[in-house]
């Protein structure tokens, strides 16, 4: 058994971490938080130059041709750095959907641009409150033109194109995926404020926007849930990266901060908080590794492994981020301390791709399916 990353993959992690440590400190994250720009363009360019945007894109489409395990490695570092860039939307969602379901022409048009940092992608599937259901999406396509409203699209305000879930007709099983050029006709965008302003979100209204089918007509729900499963593993890596950093930030503060003549980390009340954070982060890491194995081998276990990784990583990052605030006491509540950057990101990641309760439900359903088989 070798349930771990290889030495080469660990080397990639070191390189990515070194680059992000230098180019994505919390100073850069705060610049986006405070509205100096909608995302960190310099960092995006740097990630492209390092080959990290196209890391899992085959060489024939301008990428590095590495596998999903390498992508998991990078995802953890993106999460650890709280990178204020549209990485997950572009790389885990748009690029992965095109790779699996796009036409050769669509791949040739968009994937090289993604790899070079010249195109940002997004996935548009949210229409109002509630987790996604196949019947809940009203956007529709008629004569190759898409109309409807997607109320919260991650990175929708900065993306060049979007994969949009919409109906090909009025019947059941007509949900399909479409590629829409967001700079083209019939697209109106308005940025939306969210719990984590370091990641752009927008509402997008489509009015007869030209739309090209991705995958087969009526295959939309299957493609969408598969894409969300695959992205859930990658976002789980972002979450364990964030959880790990929040844990050690709290640990370091507990070592530095004195009260009652002692390091606060010598009080069991604080130690036990930190131990529970460690436990949660460790379980989440192991579950994410299993998700990585399933993702990289396209295993039959992927759906269950993804939900398992997603539930575990969401709980771990939420716990570590909120308890990091708690260990920091009053300082944790200030704008000046970095704790809220982790708290914001943990809350955003807990909701994106469908919220925790949705994934909990999915995990049980998938366990039942396996047990019935």
């Amino acid at each position: 058994m070798n349930f771990d990353f290889s030495d080469e993959q660990k080397q990639l992690r070191d390189e990515a971490r070194r680059f992000l440590d230098e180019n994505c400190t919390t100073k850069e994250v705060r610049a986006i938080l405070e509205g100096k720009d909608v995302y960190d363009r310099k960092l995006w360019k740097g990630l492209a130059d390092l080959g990290l945007l196209g890391i899992a894109i085959p060489e024939e489409f301008g990428g590095a041709g590495a596998g999903r395990l390498e992508l998991c490695i990078v995802a953890e570092e993106i999460g650890r750095a709280l990178a204020p860039v549209p990485y997950s939307s572009t790389v885990y969602l748009a690029s992965e959907i095109l790779l699996r379901a796009g036409t050769d022409a669509q791949k040739k048009e968009w994937l090289p641009k993604i790899a070079k940092g010249e195109a940002i992608g997004a996935l548009a599937f949210v229409e109002g409150p509630g987790n996604p259901t196949p019947g809940g999406m009203k956007a529709s396509v008629s004569g190759g033109k898409l109309s409807g409203r997607k109320t919260l699209v991650a990175d929708g305000g900065v993306a060049d194109f979007a994969i949009v879930a919409a109906r090909a007709g009025s019947g059941e099983n007509t949900l399909s995926l479409y590629l829409v050029d967001l700079k083209g006709a019939g697209v109106t965008r308005a940025n939306v404020e969210t719990v984590d302003p370091t990641r752009n979100h927008a509402e997008i209204t489509f009015a007869n926007a030209p739309a090209a089918l991705v995958g087969n007509e009526g295959e939309g729900w299957t493609l969408l849930t598969q894409a969300l499963d695959r992205a859930a593993v990658l976002v789980a890596f972002e979450q364990i990266g964030g959880a790990d950093r929040a844990l050690y930030m709290a640990r370091d503060y507990a070592l530095d901060r004195m009260a009652f003549g002692r390091q606060i980390g010598s009080f069991q009340a604080i130690k036990h908080i930190l131990a529970d954070m460690y436990v949660s982060a460790t379980l989440a890491r192991s579950n994410a590794y299993y998700g990585a194995w399933a993702l990289s081998t396209d295993a039959g276990e992927l759906a269950e492994a993804a939900a398992n990784a997603r539930v575990s990583a969401t709980q771990a990052f939420q716990l570590c981020a909120k308890q990091n605030n708690q260990v920091h006491g009053g300082m944790g509540f200030t704008w000046e301390a970095d704790c809220h950057l982790f708290y914001r990101r943990s809350n955003l990641l807990a909701l994106t791709l469908g919220s925790l309760s949705w994934w909990e439900d999915a995990l049980i359903e998938r366990m039942r399916k396996r047990n019935a088989a």
Binding site: M1, Y278, S286
Partner: protein, 416 residues
Amino acid sequence: MNFDDTPQEAEFRKLARTWIEANRPDDLLAVLEALNPDGSKKASTADIVRVSKAWQKRKADGGWACLTWPKEYGGRAATPIQRVIWDQEEGAYGQLSQPFAIGQGMCGPTVMAYADEDTKRRLLPPLASGEDVWCQLFSEPAGGSDVAGLRTRAEKQDNGDWLINGQKIWTTGAHFCDYGIVITRNDPTVPKHKGLTMFWLDMKSPGVEVRPIKQASGHSGFNEVYFTNVRIPDSQRLGKVGDGWNVSITTLMNERFSIGARVATGVPEFFDFASSYRMPDGTLAIEDASVRARLATWASRSNGLKYTAYRAISALSRGERPGPENSIGKLVSAPMMQDIAMAALDLQGPEGARTIDGATPAAKLYQQLYHAIGMRIAGGTDEVMRNIIAERVLGLPADVRVDKDVPFNKIPTKGR
């Protein structure tokens, strides 16, 4: 990243599998399960030990006992990863080895590290083959989490022997054990960690009295052990006089032997229960949103333990020491088992209060309600486990220890 064996591992697995196929103790397992249908240990321990000894003897004769021990002490000189592979292949039959867990896992390695060669060759092979069962006599009424606060005295006699007086408690299996290792206080005038000495002893020595403790569940798995003028020759001392604390650390470090072992969490039992139990409106419990939410958390934590063990196994496979992440097992599983058991009763409304026997998922969960209380304490309480993680893994400062530099006999003993 893969779950495949290396060629050497695959070869070893084949060897182990072939031997188990030819020697499978289905007969013994059937006896064990008949004695103990719900895993509650209600059955007479003598009967359980008898069937367990039969399997252990079969393994020892085939060269499959205490795999990682040197051959001259009854082992196979196997590597840690081979031990894990054996455990995987032994599977459910491993339940039969349970009475030997403490002796082979903790006492044996301590004897191996501190006894003289003759003693090792005499004591270890029958421990490996299951002919002798050993217990560990550490905890005392006044020293549970604070083991070093123990009071059992060891006084050196003119002829060089030691006279032992005092009381141990929570001693698992003492009522069927042949030998034990015991930690004592030889000098109460120095700080508590410095005046301790370790011995091995014959549990049938005059002056040793074992009294089973009736547990909250009504069963008895462990004991009080009283020592009244028990004479131990100096040749049975393990380690130097006054160095017993360091010797005990050797014993406790060997708790890591359980890597890769299946940890009971209650999750499979609850999954089975919720998949068959119907709510008053006729729907299955597992279709209830609140049940699903809680079960998802428990299942993912249980999965996390399994995959954490896989990471440790991978480290062993590379010949490395597993990292500290293995220290989380009991802290995750024991409180979770308690919550899960209570959740199963809760679903049944007032009827949940009814005692259930048997081998159904509901009955197993009922047993776990009590089993979990002990699990949260044994081998380090939840709180001690958190301290260990905080101090040894995260590097937080040790607790302020007000008795650290105080002679043991000057440490206050009354709370109020």
